[in-house]
């Protein structure tokens, strides 16, 4: 099961990841981080398919994607 880890204090609240997620499981928080931004968060980890489009769109490298599954490299991103 893939897991998306967002570092709240790296996030600048740009919302690019929200738009990128094909599963629409990303949203913005109601609390601000230490820099004063409303940061991104995952609303439902169970529906993550590990596509990594959120991390690919993030300008601040705030997102790490991990998985327990065996990974077959179907394409080199």
């Amino acid at each position: 099961m893939p897991k998306v880890l967002i570092e709240p204090d790296r996030c600048k609240g740009c919302e690019l990841c929200n738009a990128a997620c094909p599963q629409q499981i990303l949203a913005m928080s109601k609390e601000i981080n230490t820099k004063g931004y409303f940061h991104a968060l995952v609303t439902d980890q169970t529906r993550c398919i590990g596509c990594r489009l959120c991390a690919i769109s993030c300008p601040d490298v705030a997102i790490t994607v991990r998985t327990h599954a065996v990974r077959y490299n179907l394409f080199e991103y």
């Binding site: 690019l16 690919i56 769109s57 601040d60 790490t64 994607v65």
Partner: protein
């Protein structure tokens, strides 16, 4: 079973949180360059050359040796470094003012001499760092702080299409224009950036990757609105694609 990371911070990027605005595509493009250096094993033999512009502090975000050039002169510095040490991978990272305005001569001549360097050109149709003035790449009618009534092509001419300009030179080179306004485009941009560094690793030719980018702050839009603005206004004028390949006939 332990978890594997299938997306993490590239080694060629430092941990430092960038000073770029929220949603600024500089962060994405920095990461694409860093991933390419990692994948090609070039980090420890790379020298980057920072511009004058928002990316003037790029040297804080890359884990490789760096020089800071005067405005527009990065291709000349890169020429000096590459000619002194042809074994090093040398790249410049420049914006609209640096590359398409004050540094156009240095760009054209480095390309024409076929210096085996890689130039990443971030085109966001505006001067970001100095607060949103008109750039040679600003779209007709686009409002900026020095074109408050919108760019008037009678006064300022049409925007410069740098990729096409460089592609007309006879010396073999790799020139491609890409965009980073959607995940699909980012993945394609990564391919182009990596290809550019591969050509340098092979010692093959000069490479220029023009990356259409957003500037939410100076465009006066939210990051998501800015992506849309790029798609609707810049894509038609700045067509994406490979403009020149070293495999082309000379």
């Amino acid at each position: 079973m332990t978890a594997t990371t299938i997306f993490g911070t590239p080694a060629s990027l430092t941990d430092r949180i960038t000073h770029y605005c929220p949603g600024c595509t500089h962060g994405i493009i920095h990461r694409l360059v860093a991933e390419s250096l990692d994948e090609l094993g070039l980090r420890e033999t790379t020298v980057g050359i920072a511009p004058v512009g928002c990316a003037v502090l790029a040297y804080h975000y890359f884990a490789c040796d760096f020089q800071e050039a005067a405005h527009g002169r990065a291709p000349a510095l890169a020429t000096g470094t590459k000619r002194a040490r042809p074994d090093l991978t040398v790249f410049t990272y420049q914006g609209d003012g640096d590359l398409a305005s004050i540094g156009t001569a240095e760009l054209i001549h480095a390309a024409n001499r076929g210096e085996k360097i890689t130039i990443i050109f971030v085109n966001n149709a505006i001067y970001g760092m100095t607060g949103g003035q008109m750039a040679p790449t600003t779209m007709p009618g686009q409002v900026t702080s020095t074109s408050p009534a919108g760019r008037d092509v009678e006064l300022a001419g049409y925007p410069l299409r740098v990729a096409e300009l460089v592609a007309t030179l006879r010396t073999p080179s790799f020139v491609e224009r890409v965009s980073v306004h959607s995940p699909r485009h980012i993945i394609n941009a990564k391919r182009a950036v990596r290809q550019a560094f591969e050509y340098q690793k092979e010692g093959r030719c000069f490479s220029l990757v023009e990356v259409l980018s957003t500037c939410p702050t100076n465009w006066g839009l939210t990051p998501l609105e800015a992506l849309k603005w790029l798609e609707e206004n810049m894509l038609p004028y700045y067509p994406l694609g490979v403009k020149k390949s070293p495999d082309d006939e000379v």
